[in-house]
């Protein structure tokens, strides 16, 4: 137990840029996101992530939003387990046809007002997979999309930028 506490204490707070001002951009961005969230959702926004056929690359980077460097929850943005708790659906993948109904049902289950973000090239435009017997292509071919974040996969920074973009477009 002592080792554990020692490691926690010696690691300190790595969340940027409180200790590391190099990624100042990130903090700027986060603060701006929070301002917009405050206006729309009283300080908090709940995101339900839906993998609709992604290769899992986007999921890895979305995970990284929750690591101690990015710690996206400090801005009031958190990931929830059910679409019924969500304000935003963050959808990845070229919508495999086998996931089409599941995505539609998830969309239906999300209460209004809701926003949809298509994250990654596949979700934004079909990416490497496009439209085929197995894929519907871009998420916007299946449900209304408010915002697309390109990238293969988008970096955590790009994902935060995308969230900001969504808030702006809602003004």
């Amino acid at each position: 137990m002592l080792r554990l506490f020692k490691k926690i204490l010696t690691t300190g707070v790595v969340t940027e840029p409180a200790k590391a001002p190099r990624d100042e951009e990130l903090e700027q961005l986060g603060i701006e996101i929070k301002k917009h969230i405050d206006r729309k959702f009283a300080g908090s926004i709940a995101i339900r992530e839906v993998d609709a056929g992604s290769c899992n690359g986007c999921e890895l980077e979305i995970h990284a939003l929750n690591n101690p460097f990015h710690d996206i929850e400090r801005f009031g943005i958190h990931f929830v387990a059910s679409p019924r708790h969500a304000d935003v659906l963050l959808v990845t993948g070229p919508v495999s046809r086998h996931m089409q109904t599941a995505l539609l049902r998830t969309y239906e289950a999300t209460p209004n007002p809701k926003w949809v973000i298509a994250a990654g090239d596949c979700a934004a435009c079909g990416g490497e997979f496009g439209v085929s017997y197995a894929c519907c292509g871009a998420v916007s071919n299946v449900i209304p999309v408010d915002m697309a974040i390109p990238g293969c996969p988008p970096t955590p920074l790009a994902l935060m930028q995308g969230l900001l973009g969504l808030m702006r477009s809602q003004k």
Binding site: L4, A64, R97, H98, S132
Partner: protein, 527 residues
């Protein structure tokens, strides 16, 4: 390079002959290509099992009126590619799944995609096909257009006949395809009594993207990009296997510098994924300290990737003929500095975990996979190696650059979640050592060989040790430098079925940690 039949192959051919199975030896490449008649397909498998061959992969391809069916076997690091031909319009073949459970889902996939009937298959339900295409049409046949004829909205596959359990107090829990976490989609059907899992059935195929179909007609560069997206966490592994297969087909050797850089990339991918998994395993039993520490280390590692290689996950760094990135002397120093730093951190964190009794309580004995079950299902990578399966392509069938040095392969027989955790840790140490050695070996020279267009019909088999285990990728070329057939066999195909076994008699709330300890790829499985 010359290849000859190693001792077990000579002996095996003799036994096959005695059993009345005529084996036509087509060639002895890195994998010997043997052809038999279709009626001997199952009997060959019986002999293979008796002779301790491991069933490793299976796929088909269409040539006009004929189907070629392939099965890949391995023993002592030597591979055999077994092939037979069956004729359309009523293609059928005796099933090997009756002999090798590992072949079951692969044969079901081939049935769904080609309409080949495996006679006597113990489980003839569809696997990859849900409702995106009709029952009697087969996407990988040449007359099936890549666009298909999909409905506006593909209906859910709600009539799949799951195994049922009856009895007082038995209940069923359906989970997915959309899960609670940020993970890939798939369906799990539990039968439970109280908290104890009586049976688990996986229903995958939700992220089927038609990868094999849309690969057809691509150029080598385009195929490498697609292969890098078979499973995003294994982008280096799959891209390497596909490029190796294409280079074999084109009879192209890559510069030694490129091979070493590929090795560095693959080991960096292994370390990044193992770090993520070790944190996530602890997180699934509510131990946030480890999750925070390991995600921090992973982020540092990925930032180093972005800085030195231009991509956090290392996508598209491997290209046909070589690599698209270099490791300068300065970069080599930076990588070594990162390794030294990671080692110091791990030395501080791991004792804190090892001595934590609440973590021990949850990880030891949970999710036990016996050596026998692991062997029967051909479990690969750290899942197999935590259950006594002493196999690693890098050591047992070494390819450049691993053929230049010794690869230590950690093996345990404990078979539980803790073992899969600690095997990952040992593999990180091995990988860190390898990266350092590769950097020291880096000679000056080219990063890429000029591509040579392979003749129509040329084929190649790329076999590499991805971070999850052995990846087998088959490629055949058409005329004009285009791909006729691409089949990547992700290790997850063989590791998913063992998850159904290792959760038995565990409690339902332990399923997430059991699942994470295996961490199969949904995308790599569904293709």
């Amino acid at each position: 390079m010359s290849y000859s039949n190693s001792s077990w192959k000579v002996d095996f051919l003799k036994r096959a002959n005695e059993a009345g199975i005529t084996v036509e030896q087509i060639h002895n490449g890195p994998a010997s290509l043997w052809q038999i008649v279709g009626s001997d397909w199952q009997r060959f498998a019986e002999l293979a099992l008796q002779q301790n061959l491991r069933w490793a992969a299976g796929w088909a391809e269409q040539h006009q009126e004929w189907f070629l069916i392939n099965a890949c076997f391995e023993r002592e690091g030597r591979y055999v590619l077994l092939r037979t031909r069956v004729h359309n319009p009523k293609p059928e073949l005796p099933s090997q799944a009756t002999v090798y459970p590992a072949a079951s889902r692969s044969e079901r996939h081939t049935q769904d995609m080609f309409g080949l009937n495996f006679v006597g298959h113990p489980d003839n339900r569809p696997w990859t096909r849900h409702k995106a295409w009709p029952k009697n049409s087969y996407p990988l046949r040449k007359d099936f257009p890549v666009q298909g004829e999909p409905e506006a909205v593909t209906p859910p596959d709600k009539d799949y006949p799951f195994v049922k359990a009856y009895g007082a107090g038995v209940y069923e829990i359906p989970v997915g395809p959309v899960h609670a976490g940020i993970i890939e989609p798939g369906h799990f059907r539990f039968q439970a009594v109280g908290e104890t899992i009586l049976n688990l059935e996986e229903r995958l195929g939700y992220v089927h993207k038609g990868i094999e179909k849309i690969a057809e007609g691509r150029t080598p560069e385009q195929l490498a990009r697609l292969a890098g997206r078979v499973s995003g966490d294994t982008t280096v592994g799959h891209c390497w296997a596909a490029c190796m297969a294409m280079e074999q087909a084109a009879d192209l050797s890559i510069p030694p510098r490129a091979a070493l850089i590929r090795g560095i990339l693959a080991e960096r991918e292994r370390v990044a994924n193992h770090l993520g998994d070790m944190g996530a395993i602890c997180n699934d039993v509510g131990f946030a300290f480890a999750q925070m520490q390991f995600t921090r280390l992973r982020e540092l590692w990925l930032r180093c990737n972005a800085q030195l290689f231009g991509h956090r996950l290392l996508m598209d760094r491997i290209v046909p003929g070589g690599v698209a990135c270099d490791v300068s002397g300065q970069a080599g120093i930076a990588i070594k500095r990162g390794i030294a730093q990671l080692k110091v951190e791990l030395r501080e964190i791991l004792p804190a975990l090892d001595l934590n009794s609440s973590l021990e309580d949850r990880l030891y004995t949970a999710g036990f996979l016996s050596e026998d079950t692991a062997a029967a299902f051909g479990a690969l990578g750290f899942v197999g190696r935590a259950s006594g399966q002493d196999f690693d392509v890098r050591r047992d069938a070494p390819y450049a650059p691993y053929d230049r040095l010794t690869v230590k392969v950690p093996v345990e027989t404990q078979g539980d979640i803790a073992s899969r955790f600690w095997v990952r840790h040992k593999e990180i140490n091995v990988a860190l050592k390898l990266i350092g050695e590769f950097i020291d070996l880096l000679p000056p020279g080219d990063l890429r060989s000029d591509w040579k267009m392979p003749a129509a019909g040329r084929e190649g088999l790329g076999i590499v040790e991805g971070w999850r285990g052995e990846i087998i990728t088959y490629v055949r070329f058409d005329a004009g430098n285009t791909i006729a057939r691409f089949y990547p066999r992700d290790p997850s195909l063989l590791n998913w079925p063992v998850l159904e076994k290792l959760v038995l008699d565990n409690i339902v709330p332990d399923f997430p940690v059991c699942n994470k300890s295996v961490n199969g790829s949904y995308s790599g499985n569904d293709l």
